[in-house]
Amino acid sequence: MFDKLRAILNKIDADYADIRYEIKKDVTITFNGKELTQIGSNSTDGYVVRVLNGGGMSSAVFTKETDADKAVRTAVENAQLIAKNLEKPIRLAKVEVVKDTYVPVLKEDPRKISILEKLELVRKYNDIPLAYEKIATTSITYQEVIREKYFISTEGSEIREDLVTTRVAGEITAKDGTLLENVRVRAGGSNGFSTVRNQEENFEKRTALALDLLKAEPVVGGVYNCILNQSLAGVFAHEAFGHYSEADIIETLPSMREKMRIGNKLGSDVINIIDNPTIPDQLGFYKYDDEGVKAHPTQLMKEGVLTGRLHSRRTAAEFGEPISGHCVAEDYRYAPIIRMGTIFIEPSTHSFEELLTMLGDGLYILDAKGGQTSGENFTFGAQCGYIVKNGKVDAMVRDINITGNLYRTLNDIVAVGNDLTLSKVGGCGKGQMNIRSCHGSAHILVKNVVIGGA
């Protein structure tokens, strides 16, 4: 394969070029309620070429080998057009030339398990909620995505890496009269089919939660002191903070760039945030990014002070900051962009019980259910919550959405727990989907959270 890619690369007249060819194999099995609505395996492939020429950079994506010349020509022309319109030429940070092959060690290779065995496992999980009368429907999907990547650059790098991602995820819908409640269920990871085995208890628990929500009262909108569980705090770390640690997001926002200057104190003393794609066996693991750069753990915040940032080669040169290896594509249909790998709020020493005592009266809110940010403002749904009275968890409440301002919330974090959990299923859509986007946290105590009630 590298010979074929080199032949295309050799035809490109530019200062720098790279090509990534990928074969993507996926298996999808979906149940909607009792019914199996999708099952199949597919194999697709395609190419992404990137060109740096005269200080302009451009990419072209193509799926037919016969389109290679046209794609290369377009990329070179567009790079020149960009170069003509830029005041400052684009440079790429220097990186080590890498020749390596990395194939992950899996606990059960999903390719060796028949699709019928996978089907039976998903059916078994799907049947768990459906055994209950008040469960109206389910939507449960098994998804397996294998990216076999070949990366080659004019600098001499040649990298072959496989990414194997498996998951069982979906929604359980409970219904009572006209009231409907959805609960998300998820399992999966990057190190083999074993990550989706033995999930019966998980499905039982999520079913029980959906049924309990039917009996819960809607939360009363207002301002509360809250404990966020690991999933919700992880989504905060990712959505509200993490995206502004991505250099390409703030690069062209001058005031954001000013606010996010390394050394600025942005959060309370108790908060430490890191992005580390190199932690083995986690959903967010990878060895090299899609620019052929080795992934580095990157401390983003230490004791509330901004200490680092996630970069591509282009932004690392632009910001004059160290390269981090965070430029990742969804698959062969996209040029890479800066993505978080495994971002989390680092654990501290407090037990959950201690946090409850510190909270006194307020809300304990759990599990993200959709989230979005716009600048420094964010809105997240929570799966459910509990009223906390005098440090004791009391009645369940539903229909919780929180909204807030990133910087105010970072300063309103009062305490961090000792119980780090990382997410098992990812889905960050920043123009392209990143199914390995991994985030986490320990429980955190936050004051003055705006809750929108129904």
């Binding site: 099995i29 409907l180 940010t373 403002n377």
Partner: protein, 435 residues
């Protein structure tokens, strides 16, 4: 494709091939400077086969290996996905004017010049951070099936998105224009953006409680998503729609008429047939507040003993790579009938209230139930019919089946929105929560 269809017909009862080829050329400006020019040339073919009432599905990028594609589809038959429908024989389709050949010649340089023109103007009138993306998109779709259908369509789309973001915040005013061919962004749109931006530069603390709320077209996604969830045949079949038994009943204010308008080719993206070859036609969903009907693809029409309405599209809520997706019921050309008030007149009707210019978290919350709870980003606070400033840290929440009973007025213009062209709507009695 014909060879593959012949092969497929030999080993199963029914077969269908869907092919999609497109060229997508985006240009983007960030902070009023050219940032990216990229290009995608992509093709794909997907195969559906039916054998003994079971469905097989597979797709590929190239027809390099027909046997592998057919084998993948045959393998997926083993799962036993039910398919009791048949593929349609569609011979006559409406002739639509969806393709403007001039778009093929539109160069990156011309898009760069247009973006630069809009950028310079917005920059000269505001202190905001300017973002722009223009793109050309040319698509060819062809569907052939074992019943004898062989139809194809070509679409062109030119779109430009412009945003003025408030300094120090990622939020701002944005507008999108869509057309079949290259068009300069209209001055009226640019002026509206500048006016809204200028009148909202001051941040004010709003009151909370129930009040009048104007959903602008950009925030209508929070509401129309729930409408399309409630009226989808998939939700009806799965018994998760709260309006299953409400056909013929008044569920919304009588000012509200909602329909699907796929054949109107004055808008870009009109379709003569859906992604499974069913001929498209207009469909009324809600007329003067009365629920008229649901929308169906082949699969759910068969399950619910109804006629397919031509709403089987290979997509997800966020769009998607059509080749890799099976058709699902989708309301792709949604319109809400415009009212008789200009935006300015609607604002005049607000004594105290909020204008929701953009909604954060439209996809969060209990969508099937019709509940919404969205961050206002950005939004404006109105007192005595005047915008007094921009609100921060506030949310609006409610349930569409309640909210749409309290319509005060609907704007006289439709705007391009995600999944359709929609007006701005002023509602009464919507809950606003603030810090």
């Amino acid at each position: 494709m014909e060879k593959l269809l012949e092969k497929a017909k030999k080993v199963c009862d029914k077969a269908e091939l869907y092919s999609n080829e497109y060229i997508y050329n985006p240009v983007s400006f960030k902070n009023a400077r050219l940032h990216d020019i990229d290009s995608t040339i992509q093709s794909g073919i997907s195969l559906r086969i039916i054998k003994e009432g079971k469905l097989g599905f597979a797709y590929t990028r190239n027809l390099a290996n027909r046997e592998e594609l057919l084998q993948n589809a045959l393998d997926s038959l083993k799962g036993g996905v039910e398919a009791n429908y048949t593929f349609p024989l569609t011979k006559k389709i409406p002739q639509l004017n969806t393709y403007e050949p001039s778009l093929k010649k539109l160069s990156g340089r011309e898009m760069v010049e247009e973006c630069a023109r809009v950028c310079d103007y917005l920059k000269s009138k505001t202190d905001g951070v300017i973002l722009l993306t223009a793109f050309s998109y040319i698509e060819n779709i062809r569907i052939i099936n074992s019943e004898g259908t062989d139809i194809s369509g070509k679409n062109t789309l030119y779109s430009i998105y412009g945003a003025i973001k408030y300094p120090g915040s990622g939020t701002g005013i944005w507008r999108v224009s869509k057309s079949k061919q290259f068009e300069r962004m209209h001055d009226s749109i640019i002026k509206e953006m500048i006016e809204l931006y200028t009148s909202s530069s001051k941040v004010v603390p709003p009151k909370s409680g129930k009040m009048k709320v104007l959903f602008m077209p950009n925030s209508m996604l929070a509401l129309n998503w729930r409408i399309s969830s409630g009226t989808s045949s998939k939700s009806i079949y799965e018994k998760i729609s709260p309006i299953t038994d409400k056909i013929g009943k008044k569920i919304f204010d009588e000012k509200v008429t909602i329909y699907d308008d796929p054949l109107n080719d004055t808008y870009p993206g009109a379709r003569a047939f859906d992604d499974e070859g069913v001929a498209c036609k207009p469909l009324t969903i809600i007329e003067n507040g009365i629920l008229k009907g649901f929308y169906y693809d082949l699969n759910y029409a068969e399950k619910l003993n109804a006629k397919p309405t031509g709403h089987g599209y290979r997509t997800t809520r966020w769009g998607g790579d059509s080749t890799t997706l099976k058709p699902v019921p989708t309301l792709t050309h949604m319109r809400i009938k415009p009212g008789n008030k200009s935006l300015a007149e609607l604002v005049k009707l607000i004594d105290t209230g909020i204008i929701v210019e953009g909604a954060l978290g439209a996809h969060s919350g209990n969508i099937p139930n019709g509940d919404y709870s969205v961050g206002i980003s950005p939004g404006f606070y109105v007192e005595n019919s005047e915008i007094v400033g921009r609100v921060k840290d506030a949310m609006v929440a409610g349930n569409i089946y309640e909210t749409f009973k309290h319509v005060i007025g609907i704007s006289d213009t439709l705007y391009p929105c995600f999944w359709g062209w929609l007006p701005a709507i002023l509602f009464d009695n919507v809950t606003v929560a603030t810090k």
